[in-house]
């Protein structure tokens, strides 16, 4: 079969493009080197829908970000991912910072964000009592919010798949050749995927994919961001995303009230050598604490429940997105350097890429078949007793609690597995199970058993996130006991 379009990379950009294409009579396939969507760059970001003021008006970043911001309500209504438009506060703690703040505020206005509100010190403290009283002023961006990035991407991909886009997980593209109007993509297993058009949304590896396809040479440099998650009982949790005044390379270290109810502090921004360098360090932990403690009160290292890092795919010397048809090879769209605000901009990125495909000759014809809609995921924790009792009659697993910290029922775990998420992380990202204070200490064994039961994969073969990330070494008795 020759697909019309092969999208490489099931992150926010690739997922959004797949979702867009699923509205047309286009045979598309979404290829992903990992075993699940969002397992690359997209899983580990700050989970923020930005406010449209951080990037220069003329940049593609600003254009796509601003276009996207308003789209999340409709997307949430359709795809049912956790998203809360809680608003963003940019806080200045000195007169110099206030000047920078003012510039950002003006830039936001110029970008077309008309509802930004300039705030005095008092306004800031009234809006956000958790702010340190040393705040000198700042502004409020009501359109900004928080989102669960993995759930968002998973739902985009789920919807695309339900509406005709083929999914090819565990498929790492290592070679691409264009001949007679068709791209022949070879993956690591030696499978060949044929498509007329290729979208390179390979995140950190977009440079490798580009090179493997004979397209432009560029370098993706990973810029690492470490994040630390605080317990949901942390007194520091603000009502808004609190931004400092940004630095040259990043939007700074923030305090984020995650949509899941915890509080996150981070991220750092350091260019690293390796694309697999996901180390967190004690130095950066102290650095983050030092930066956020003066911003918001109640932050304590004792409240940390986990930490992680993400790598932003950066094309150095070019701070903007690189989204364009290849000038070297035909029918090849580059979607590279999608660092912040990539997640925010992703709805418009998908549309933009779709337009670029059309301009390159892809025939776009709206699908006439009624769209398959996604039902909202069960969220037993949000249901009242009467609702739960009713639901229990048809699905008894809904009142069988598995993850005690995040209050996730067996029904939700089963639903995740039935949607193809058969790794511990896949289920975690889909349901939030294991994201709470015990970090899966109590529930991992049971979740593994449910995954094994529902998927038919033997317990000993389950992985944390695919590949070689096996959770177990074997059954009891598989190792010989030796004497001393």
């Amino acid at each position: 079969m020759i697909y019309d379009v092969a999208i490489i990379g099931a992150g926010a950009s690739g997922g959004s493009t797949a979702y867009q294409l699923s509205h047309y009579n286009v045979n598309a396939i979404l290829l992903e080197k990992c075993c699940d969507a969002s397992f690359g760059v997209s899983k580990a970001n700050s989970g923020i829908v930005h406010g449209g003021f951080h990037h220069p008006t003329t940049s593609l970043k600003a254009k796509l970000e601003v276009e996207s911001i308003k789209k999340f309500d409709a997307l949430k209504a359709e795809l049912h991912f956790p998203f809360d438009r809680c608003g963003i506060l940019v806080a200045a703690f000195s007169e110099e910072e206030l000047d920078v703040c003012r510039k950002l505020f003006e830039q936001g206005k110029a970008n077309g964000i008309s509802n930004l509100v300039w705030c005095s010190k008092e306004d800031m403290l009234r809006r956000e009592p958790k702010l340190n009283s040393h705040v000198t002023g700042g502004f409020f961006a009501p359109d900004g919010g928080v989102i669960e990035p993995y759930a968002y991407v998973q739902r985009l991909v789920e919807s695309a798949s339900a509406n005709g886009v083929a999914l090819g997980f565990n498929s790492k593209v290592v070679k691409g050749e264009f001949a007679d109007g068709v791209w022949n993509l070879t993956d690591e297993q030696g499978s060949i995927i044929q498509a007329r058009y290729v979208v390179n949304a390979a995140g950190l590896y977009a440079d490798k994919v580009s090179e493997a396809c004979g397209a432009e040479k560029f370098t993706i440099s990973p810029r690492k961001g470490e994040e630390y998650l605080l317990d949901r009982e942390s007194p520091a949790r603000p009502n808004h995303v609190v931004f400092p005044v940004p630095s040259k390379h990043s939007k700074g270290v923030l305090v984020i009230p995650t949509v899941g109810g915890t509080t996150m502090i981070g991220p750092t921004a350091d260019v690293v050598e390796e694309k697999t360098d996901d180390y967190t360090t004690a130095e950066n932990f102290s650095r983050i604490l030092k930066l956020v403690e003066p911003m918001v009160s109640g932050i304590s290292a004792r409240d940390v429940i986990t930490s992680f890092s993400g790598l932003r795919p950066v094309i150095l010397e070019q701070e903007d997105f690189y989204i364009a048809p290849s000038e070297k090879v035909a029918n090849f769209i580059q979607v590279a350097g999608i660092q912040s605000p990539g997640l925010t901009a992703s709805p418009a990125i998908g549309e933009y890429v779709t337009r670029l495909l059309a301009e390159a000759g892809l025939k776009l014809e709206k699908r006439t078949a009624p769209r398959v809609t996604l039902s909202p995921a069960i969220e037993a924790r949000k249901l009242a007793a009467t609702e739960l009792a009713q639901l229990h009659a048809e699905n008894p697993a809904v009142t069988d609690w598995v993850c005690r910290c995040e209050k996730i029922s067996e029904a939700e775990i089963v639903e995740a597995v039935r949607h193809g998420h058969t790794t511990l992380d896949g289920v975690k990202f889909y349901t939030r199970s294991g994201m709470g204070r015990c970090q899966g200490g109590f529930c991992s064994a049971r979740i593994m058993r449910i995954i094994a039961r529902e998927s038919g994969i033997p317990l000993e073969e389950l992985t944390k996130r695919g590949g070689n990330s096996y959770l177990l070494a074997g059954k009891l008795g598989s190792l010989e006991v030796k004497g001393n």
Binding site: Y228, L229, E233, T276, D278, Y279, T280, T281, A282, F285, V304, I305, S307, F308, A385, T386, L388, A389, H392, A393, P396, A397, T399, D400, W401, R404, C405, K407, S409, E410, R437, C438, Q439, G441, F442, S444, A445, M448, R449, L459, E460, T463, K464, R465, G467, N468, S469, Y470, L471, L472, A473, G474, K475, L476, S478, L479, E480, V481, K482, N484
Partner: protein, 415 residues
């Protein structure tokens, strides 16, 4: 359909504390229902298949499952009622001082339980790698010791082939032996403190027996492995800081964290129960009652014990107080218990005079011999106890005829 039921006492948790508490409230004539998430009684005891339990309570040395079975039998023979596979989602305090528990289970769906008193016997949870913000990567193969214990002893699967254990708490030590007995090579135990934090006998029978090195005053400074753990780095502590010039690397495919336990207080916080920052558990008086009348706490949910026998004893005492409370005969604890030197906490924090009361402490010092004194509000010594082999790993428990005055406890080493 929501099920409605009504009992005098709800005991949350069917581990050692819950089972002993329920047996006693039943004997005291209070209808009691015990609720547990698991499908059977015993709680964490079921995965503690090693021996070392029950010498005080049952006068014989038992394994965890045996202790659980005997404790279950006590509660069952007292006609306590059980709801397994049931989670308490919330507790509401009603205007008349009673409580309504919202319980969820596969079998019954939603159950609303009205009761006059709640005994929180919900145990504790393990601190984990995330709580310590341990640097490094996030590969598969990092577990808490308790989760690994469940995998091995309940699920019958082996987490890895070669392991490093972080923390020398008892669970970590017990797991070092268990892993060795399952054919897993335990490379090392890494402890940040200058002394092991588990019981000495566990160092002897769980590490020394298997020639497992214990690296004291070492801190884990890195975890390696892209997909699966490949190793861990530990640095010796010099003046309290890791000496990064002298890092020891251990190859392994599994890392178990045994870095302390924290009382579970999730159900109590929304009720406004006050927490003692020194224990992480609720502040209670000598009735085991919190600042919220009718909410009682016992066992590891109150403070982390090292012996299940003390958990059981404490829970039984609390149950007696609950019975007296419901009968209107409980004393009113109005005097304060304080600590001065070398004691991390005391429980209870308030007591009634004229009662024989057990006070429980966690020392902060390690020494061969120490003197514990109790002084009244005027600074007069009421009583003193000589304690041998005092260390933070071992809770101290004493009995005192409580005076009609505040008390201050003090622990001093005897050289």
């Amino acid at each position: 359909m929501i099920e409605y039921i009504k009992r005098d006492v709800a005991v949350i948790g069917a581990g050692a504390a819950g089972l002993f508490a329920a047996a006693e409230t039943m004997k005291g004539g209070c209808s009691t229902i015990v609720i547990d998430r698991e499908q059977r009684a015993g709680g964490i005891l079921n995965q503690c298949i090693h021996n070392g339990f029950g010498l005080h309570c049952f006068k014989e040395e038992l394994t965890g499952p045996e202790f659980a079975a005997k404790a279950f039998e006590l509660a069952r023979s007292a006609d306590a009622e059980f709801r397994f596979g049931t989670t308490v989602r919330s507790i509401k305090r009603n205007d008349d001082g009673t409580f309504t528990l919202e319980m969820l289970s596969r079998a019954h769906g939603v159950t609303l339980l009205d009761c006059k008193a709640v005994i929180m016997a919900v145990g504790c949870r393990e601190r984990n790698r995330g709580n310590l913000a341990v640097p490094g990567r996030r590969p598969a193969g990092v577990w808490t010791a308790g989760t690994a214990q469940k995998l091995l002893n309940i699920e019958g699967v082996i987490p890895g082939k070669s392991a490093v254990i972080v923390g020398s708490g008892d669970i970590g030590l017990i797991m070092a032996r268990r892993m060795s007995w399952c054919g897993v090579k335990v490379q090392a135990v890494i402890e940040i403190m200058p002394r092991p934090s588990g019981l000495v006998r566990n160092i002897a029978q769980c590490l020394d027996d298997f020639n497992i090195p214990l690296h004291l005053s070492h801190q884990v400074v890195n975890i390696h492995g892209t997909e699966h753990v490949t190793g861990v780095d530990a640095a010796p502590l010099v003046d309290g800081k890791p000496d990064m010039e002298n890092i020891k690397h251990f190859d392994c495919d599994t890392i178990l964290f045994s870095v302390g336990l924290v009382p579970s207080n999730e159900l109590m916080l929304p009720l406004g129960v006050e927490i003692d920052p020194n224990t992480g558990g609720a502040k209670v008086d000598s009735n085991g009652e919190t600042n919220v009348p009718g909410i009682f706490v016992a066992g590891n949910a109150l403070h982390v014990h090292d012996l299940v026998d003390f958990v059981a004893e404490e829970a039984a005492e609390t149950a007696h107080a609950v019975v007296r409370k419901l009968n209107g005969t409980a004393p009113c604890p109005r005097y304060a218990a304080n600590t001065r030197n070398n004691l991390r906490y005391v429980a209870p924090l308030k007591f009634a005079s004229g009662e024989k009361i057990h006070f429980r402490f966690r020392p902060t010092i390690t020494c061969e011999k120490a003197i514990l004194t109790a002084c009244d509000a005027g600074g007069n010594e009421i009583k003193r106890w000589t304690k041998m082999f005092v260390c933070p790993a071992e809770m101290i428990q004493i009995e005192l005829d409580a005076p009609g005055s505040d008390i201050t406890f003090n622990l001093e080493e005897v050289k």
